[in-house]
């Protein structure tokens, strides 16, 4: 996973609430056995006509938002399925940061595992950033994870909260499995205890 430190990039406005995972990447694109290549179908039904032509009114089909690396949206972003194809599609398109008032839990988890930073900010601040994101070539935000601030085009700073453990993993590009395996001895002894205490709990053998 790539570390996330600071990012200065175009922010795209997506003023929709409840952007579900089927919107981010419809089920018919989940047949891949890879993590890459999904960016072409990010927001597929919003982005393309049935015949495959781009819809000119969709923000990511417009300049400079084709190069956006930050997305500003409204409540409950990423609701629906657990498909990690949603963050994979965002990442493959180039999105490294999503800012919204809140996120669905599983999607929120999944973003961190892929080096994408989800930032929760109150609706009023999302509204301000949404205005910034409408500035076209000037819609540039800087996200500084170490300092926990978003710097607006006018230089004003917006502070955000983030879980310290997740911040640490993201800043250093650490993967969770490596972290957990540091506790391998504890897992072993937990399992040994369970085998005694819950000896009635069978394993699955076919």
């Amino acid at each position: 996973m790539d570390a996330f430190t600071t990012l200065t990039a175009i922010a795209a406005p997506l003023p929709m609430a409840n952007v579900d995972t089927d919107k981010i990447i419809p089920a018919r694109f989940l047949k891949t056995i890879k993590r890459t290549g999904l960016g072409a179908n990010l927001f597929d039904t919003l982005r393309y006509e049935a015949d495959g032509r781009e819809r000119p009114d969709f923000v990511l089909n417009q300049e400079p938002y084709r190069r956006a690396q930050i997305l500003i949206a409204y409540e409950n972003f990423g609701c629906g399925s657990s498909r990690e194809h949603a963050p994979w599609a965002l990442l493959d398109f180039g999105i490294r940061c999503v800012i919204a008032p809140d996120f669905a839990d599983i999607f929120h988890n999944n973003t961190f595992k892929n080096g994408i930073l989800p930032i929760r900010l109150p609706r009023e601040l999302c509204d301000l950033l949404m205005q910034d994101a409408r500035l076209g070539d000037n819609a540039r935000l800087t996200v500084d994870l170490a300092a926990q601030v978003v710097v607006r085009p006018n230089g004003a700073k917006v502070h955000f909260e983030i879980d310290p453990f997740r911040k640490h993993l993201l800043l250093n590009g650490l993967d969770d499995i490596g972290q957990t395996l540091q506790h391998a001895a504890k897992i072993d002894s937990y399992e040994a205890r369970q085998r005694q205490e819950k000896s009635w709990q069978p394993g699955i053998a076919i």
Partner: protein, 470 residues
């Protein structure tokens, strides 16, 4: 550990699975059961391979194929190439890593959330995960069960644990007698209508109250299945005699003395009487009516007697735009009666309502009636064993005679990854759980409802108040 203060069911299951608590409150949480399917696992197995890791506990893992597979004759294999590759990839992964697996032609194959409880793989007090959001279904047994992404699938395969922070506790209490024509599906749709699709964010919802207690296991699974549509991390129902009777004798459940020992433990799980919840919502069952969704979010739900809302009545601008989009996408006219909506397709199945109890309800209603002209109606059993059971009871005959298609087990038109899809503009009465844009096929229009309501729509050809038919 806070043993002295009263605890909820969630607290108890959580506490007993904490392997290690990190300084910031993140826990290394032990996972008892890991269910795996073909769509969200290939990249996880790949990750293991790249890192030279093995599956830590294959005997705590069970794999099935469900999302991609055709539900017509399968003896000739899968025609669609990408689906076939995904299934073959799972088969080579389970073989290489020694993971127990029900292949497509095994009668025990089916939708992962139907198979787990049916086989006794999912048990009370366990932590259960799967790379699928509707893992919340298994909470009906009193297990802490939740969906995870593919990176977490890899994490569980490698370590049998997850890094998680505890959720908040929410209690949804439903009391009173459910009116005729209503079922578990109507209860959960009414709950989502009340609290919204983000209402449960950050919480685990425990469903309690006398109406929930009175549900059979199939109904409880329907309710917990849709906890995720309310945004909850998981749904939970305290295990009781109904639960124990359901589990007794299932293939992978404990048997004999071990079963008794298990039940003794399971009896300690229900929330303490004075346990405190972060949020409590109460519903009166008597006020629930047969429900149907009209829009493209499960919270856009109304009693069948309702009319299509007018977006112009909504004061909030963003919300108004969203309602407007729903009305347009769904091809509706504000003020229109929901019972006027003509359906093209009726889909009975999915992990929400693909159990034998659901199929019985449909068969009973359509017996001696015919599917309305021009309607394509299908029943897709949740597992091969559900299918066998239905055939043993003669339900397939009743359904076929009425004009239903009777298919093989799988996810099917719940998400249209296999050939069962809506075409653009088609309107579907569906017993599944998601009505998002394009969920059942690009341009398709989904109305979520109960099996009884689906049966009623099938025979009349439009959304119908099932109470008029019984």
């Amino acid at each position: 550990m806070p043993q002295d203060k009263p605890r909820t069911l969630f607290d108890k299951v959580w506490d007993s699975h904490v392997v290690e608590r990190l300084p910031d409150g993140t826990c290394v949480l032990y996972i008892d059961r890991h269910l795996v399917h073909e769509v969200t696992s290939p990249q996880a197995f790949d990750g293991l391979r790249t890192a030279g890791r093995r599956v830590r506990r294959p005997e705590a893992t069970l794999a099935v194929v469900d999302h991609n597979i055709p539900t017509s004759d399968r003896s000739q294999g899968i025609a669609e190439e990408e689906s076939r590759i995904q299934v073959e990839t799972l088969e080579s992964n389970v073989a290489a890593f020694g993971v127990p697996y029900f292949p497509v032609l095994d009668p025990r194959q089916g939708i992962v959330h139907i198979v787990g409880p049916e086989q006794g793989v999912s048990l009370p007090g366990m932590t259960i995960v799967c790379g699928d959001s509707h893992t919340s279904t298994h909470g009906a047994l009193g297990a802490l069960a939740f969906g995870i992404g593919t990176s977490e699938v890899e994490h569980v395969l490698a370590t049998q644990t997850l890094l998680q922070k505890p959720a908040k506790n929410m209690l949804v209490r439903v009391d009173g007698t459910l009116p005729p024509g209503c079922s578990a599906k109507d209860i959960v749709l009414a709950i989502i209508g009340r609290i919204g699709t983000a209402g449960g964010n950050g919480h685990v919802i425990e469903f309690g109250g006398e109406t929930i207690r009175a549900l059979d296991m199939a109904g409880r699974m329907t309710v917990c299945n849709m906890a995720i549509e309310a945004g909850a991390r998981a749904g939970l129902i305290a295990p009781d005699e109904t639960t124990f009777a359901y589990i007794d004798g299932r293939p992978f459940a404990p048997h004999g003395a071990a079963f008794d020992a298990a039940v003794a433990h399971w009896r300690t799980l229900p929330s303490d009487a004075d346990a405190v919840y972060d949020r409590v919502v109460t519903l009166d069952a008597a006020e629930i009516a047969p429900m149907v969704t009209w829009g493209t979010s499960p919270e856009a739900v109304l009693p069948i007697t309702g009319t299509v809302p007018n977006p112009a009545d909504e004061p909030d601008e963003a919300r108004r735009a969203q309602l407007q989009r729903m009305v347009e996408y769904m091809g509706l006219i504000p003020g229109q009666k929901l019972t006027e909506l003509v359906v093209d397709v009726v889909f009975v199945g999915s992990c929400t309502n693909g159990r034998i109890e659901d199929i019985r309800v449909v068969a009973q209603l359509v017996q001696g009636r015919r599917v309305a002209p021009g309607v394509r109606a299908m029943v897709v059993p949740g597992s091969g064993l559900v299918k066998q059971q239905a055939e043993a009871e003669g339900l397939d005959r009743i359904l076929r005679d009425a004009g239903f298609e009777w298919r093989e087990a799988g996810c099917s038109m719940c998400l249209g990854m296999n050939p069962d899809k809506l075409t653009p503009g088609q309107r579907c009465a569906s017993t599944s759980n998601r009505n998002f844009e394009g969920r059942q096929g690009p341009g398709g229009r989904t109305h979520l409802l109960s099996p009884a309501m689906a049966a009623a729509a099938a025979v009349t050809g439009h959304l119908t108040d099932v109470r008029e038919l019984v």
